[in-house]
């Protein structure tokens, strides 16, 4: 039961992007098309699940004082692996995502989960927590990507639904990212019936 809770708390209740407001940079920057958003989500998922697992595996032998540098080295190892894999397998996507692939290393979600969860919990729970958190991240990122591509480029995942000539180009430009996330957050506030 608690394993299930560890898995699903990241998806909605503690959604890292829309609730905790962390890991925002890649969300806004790569969500200009649904494909880019999906690619970024998979990259973050790989790094987060692997780093959570490794941190949980070695948590009993890591001295408390130097745990942060150790976490950073673990995370940057996986980011480097992901960087080179993506460069080899999906060169077009890699160019689109640009500097945001190596920047996963400073994504607050990953270090945050290593410190707050994986360092204190067994391996299976940590892996599931990483999976849940990254699904929450993917949910927010892909929905923003779909909305922006639909309104701004007239299609989803590269399929054209209506003529791009009548689409609101601003939605795929930088301001569109801010507008989309703002309306999503306001909508979530309304659903919850609470004000900040």
């Amino acid at each position: 039961m608690s394993i299930w809770r560890d898995f699903n708390q990241g998806i909605v209740r503690e959604n890292p992007v829309l609730r905790l407001m962390i890991g925002l940079c890649p969300v806004l920057a790569v969500s200009n098309s649904a494909i880019n958003a999906l690619g970024m989500s998979v990259a973050v998922m790989f790094v987060l699940v692997c780093s959570n697992t490794v941190v949980a595996l070695i948590r009993k032998i890591v001295p408390d004082q130097i745990r942060i540098p150790i976490f950073i080295i673990i995370i940057s190892t996986f980011v480097t692996i992901c960087d080179y894999l993506m460069q080899a397998l999906y060169p077009v996507l890699y160019i689109q995502l640009g500097v945001f692939v190596p920047l996963i290393v400073v994504n607050c979600i990953i270090l945050g989960r290593a410190e707050a969860f994986a360092y204190r919990n067994p391996v299976l729970n940590s892996a599931l927590d990483g999976l849940g958190m990254s699904l929450g991240f993917a949910l927010a990122l892909v929905s923003i990507g779909v909305i922006r591509e639909l309104l701004g480029a007239g299609g989803v995942f590269g399929f054209t639904l209506y003529s791009p000539a009548i689409a609101a180009t601003i939605m795929v430009l930088p301001p569109g990212a801010f507008i989309t996330i703002s309306f999503l957050m306001a909508w979530l506030n309304k659903l919850e019936g609470k004000t900040q």
Partner: protein
């Protein structure tokens, strides 16, 4: 002229916050008050210039000759983290006034992705050392400009009548969208 172009491209046209979306987490957290945003911008200008110089030197004089480019992610983040510690010690001892102005933001900056991004981008763009310096100065000035302007606007937002569901973060994002729209107007300025 070329250096001037690099500076203005980094300062306004490709503004790191509003156009490139780097370092946004700290942006929304810090820009609630004018004083904190000034402290943060001082810390960013200071750390970014020094750390991009050091990481440029490390990359071109250690990693490239030994074909260790694949280590750059790990090496840069450790360099930046240890530099921030050194700079903190130095400032505390030598320039206590500046240290006080920066306050807690100096250590926090280690996790600020702008610092690492500038180190990466200066290498991706194949800048020379001087160009990389001008570039990081432009980026950090652009960061300071936006974060201070934004803090002043958010000050006014406290008094504005805002729709119920938009209070707090949503209206801050709308403000950022409008500012970003204004910055899009700088595209192609000076024929860049």
């Amino acid at each position: 002229m070329e250096l001037f172009g690099i500076f203005f491209a980094a300062f306004l046209i490709n503004n790191i916050l509003l156009i490139k979306f780097i370092a946004l987490c700290a942006f929304f957290g810090v820009s609630t008050e004018i004083d904190t945003s000034i402290g943060m911008s001082l810390a960013v200008i200071f750390v970014m210039t020094i750390s991009s110089a050091v990481s440029w030197i490390i990359y071109h004089s250690i990693l490239v000759p030994f074909h260790l480019e694949f280590l750059r992610t790990a090496v840069f983040i450790l360099t930046i983290a240890s530099l921030v510690q050194l700079e903190e010690l130095y400032l505390k001892k030598m320039i206590p006034n500046l240290y006080r102005a920066m306050g807690i933001y100096l250590p926090l900056i280690t996790t600020n992705c702008a610092i690492l991004a500038v180190a990466f981008l200066a290498i991706d763009y194949k800048y020379s050392f001087l160009q990389a310096m001008v570039y990081s100065l432009g980026v950090s000035s652009g960061y300071s400009l936006v974060i201070i302007l934004f803090a002043y606007i958010r000050d006014r937002l406290l008094l504005a009548p805002i729709p119920k569901w938009f209070r707090g973060y949503p209206i801050a994002f709308i403000t950022a969208a409008l500012m970003s729209l204004a910055f899009l107007g700088f595209t192609h300025m000076f024929g860049l």
